[in-house]
Structure formats: C-alpha cells, structure tokens
Symmetry: C2
Subunit: 162 residues, 2 copies
C-alpha cells in the first residue's frame, strides 16, 4: 500500500534510529497515522518504533501532548511553533530518543493565505539538541499531499539523527 520509495525511507529511518540506539515516536495531525503506519510496514519495526499520537479534532490538538493553547492561538494549528511543540511533546510523553511531528492542510478544504492547501510543517526533536523544523508546500490531491508529508517526515528523522 506504500510505495517502494516510502518503504525505503522508512527502512532508512529505522536503521538510523537503531544505529543511534534510540526509539522513534510520532505526532501527527494531517497525516493521521500514515507516518506510523508506513514505518511499521517494515517488518521488525517493533524493536525501534515505540508509539504514535494522532491528534485530529480541535479538542485533541488543544489538549494533546501539552502544547499550550496560546501557541496554537497565536500561530495557528498549522505552524512551525505548534509542530515543534508536538515533536517535543511526543518526546516528553514517551521513552523515545527521537520524535517527528507533522501538521498541515491536506485539502481539499482548509488552508489560509499564508499557508495554502498543501502546506505541511515537519519537526524532528531529540533530547538536548535543537528541534529541526521544515515547511513544505506539496502539490497534489489529499492523498498526494499526505504521502509527500510522510516522506518528508521520514527524511527529517534521518537528518535529526545524523
């Protein structure tokens, strides 16, 4: 169900985490479990992938993983600040040594002037290191945007572990 390209990225993220001796956690809004679903499509992931948090409804985003509501109000639920907070929150709510978070507008509705449909923020956090945050604007339909975000999240895990 996932492309060979995505499965290769998942295998690289797992290998990087194994080499670093850490486990992976995820926090997802628009991809809603597809990052964790893709990582675990690789057999043997259970030694390295620990857990995932899917925050979808506004009530979940507001109360999940301890991102202060003021940050969400000030910057929007789809923002570098909230995504960084979710990645660091996933670290704090797990025993993982690296966590990746994704927020975005997969479409067809949603988006804003500043962040049109296709915009996704990806953040990767490790304890004691600066959290990496990227902004992407992906083309494509809902599926296409979500799968592109999965690929970017897997890549950012590898970058943060390098």
């Amino acid at each position: 169900m996932f492309s060979t390209e995505l499965l290769d990225k998942a295998a690289r993220a797992l290998a990087a985490a194994r080499a670093a001796g850490v486990r992976i956690a995820t926090a997802e809004t628009c991809t809603a479990g597809l990052v964790s679903g893709c990582i675990t499509a690789v057999s043997g992931a259970s030694q390295t992938f620990e857990r995932g948090f899917v925050l979808y409804h506004d009530s979940a985003k507001a109360t999940g993983l301890g991102v202060p509501e003021e940050i969400s109000r000030a910057h929007g639920a789809v923002s570098a600040e909230v995504t960084q907070g979710l990645a660091e929150g996933a670290l704090a709510h797990s025993s993982a040594g690296v966590a990746v978070a994704v927020t975005g507008y997969a479409g067809p509705g949603g988006g804003s002037a500043k962040n049109p449909v296709g915009t996704c923020y990806i953040a990767a956090a490790r304890p004691g290191m600066p959290t990496l945050v990227e902004r992407h604007v992906f083309a494509g339909d809902r599926d296409g945007v979500r799968l592109a975000a999965v690929g970017a999240a897997l890549d950012l895990i590898v970058k943060r572990l390098a």
Copy 2:
C-alpha cells in the same frame, strides 16, 4: 492508497458516528495508525474523528491507556482482554463516544499456537454499553492482514453504533 471498499467503510463509520452525535477514537498495535489514516482519508473527517493512539513497542503497550500489565501477562498482548482494555482506555483518554482497538500478528514473524500469524482482535467500546470484541484470522501477507484488520475495525465501529 486505500481501496474504494475501505474508503466506503470509513465513510460509513463516520456517518454512523455523526448520526449518533459522537466522535471516534482509535487504539492500534499491529495496524499502527492505518485505521486512523483510513478514516481521515475521507475529507471532512475532522469534525468526527478525534484522536488515535498507536502503541507498538512493548514499553508502549505496557504503559499505554492504562491496561493493567497483569492482563497483558495473563492473556498476552494479542488477546480479547487486552484489546477490550485498549478500546475502553481510548474512551477514557479522550472525549470520544466510540472507540475501536486492534491488536494482532501481521507477520511474517510472531504468532503463537493459539494465535497464529494473521490473528487479529478488534474491540469497539461505547460508554455504558458492553464492549464488542471479535477475533479474526486473516490470510495474506503483512499488508494484507493489516488492511483486512482496518476493514474489520471500521465495520465494528458501525456495529457498536447501531
């Protein structure tokens, strides 16, 4: 990325939850986010799908959603008892009015004499009602077992809401 059949099941689960005036939560081990990923492939799910918990590593299963470790030790992580506990735990850890949980052995490794590879337990919980639990043994490879479990989980949401 999900078949039309699965997307139809997801749309039916969302429609049933909307009709009942409740939100949906998920707790997944072997499907690891594919149930939440499939539900949210349907545009407009954000009003009805609330949040999901992916518990993959043993440390996550032991500490996630409050299922007592004795239950896991006595019955195994892939069991009716643990799956029921996860569904009820997802209700307790959310504002959702219906929660579905999946545990299983997707293969190629794992499984036991009692629960061979392909065995999945699905549970659906609603406050004040008995939790429904089903056991399935699905044929197919890792992808096939996981996607069959997604379908069974979506169907059980509809059954518990009927």
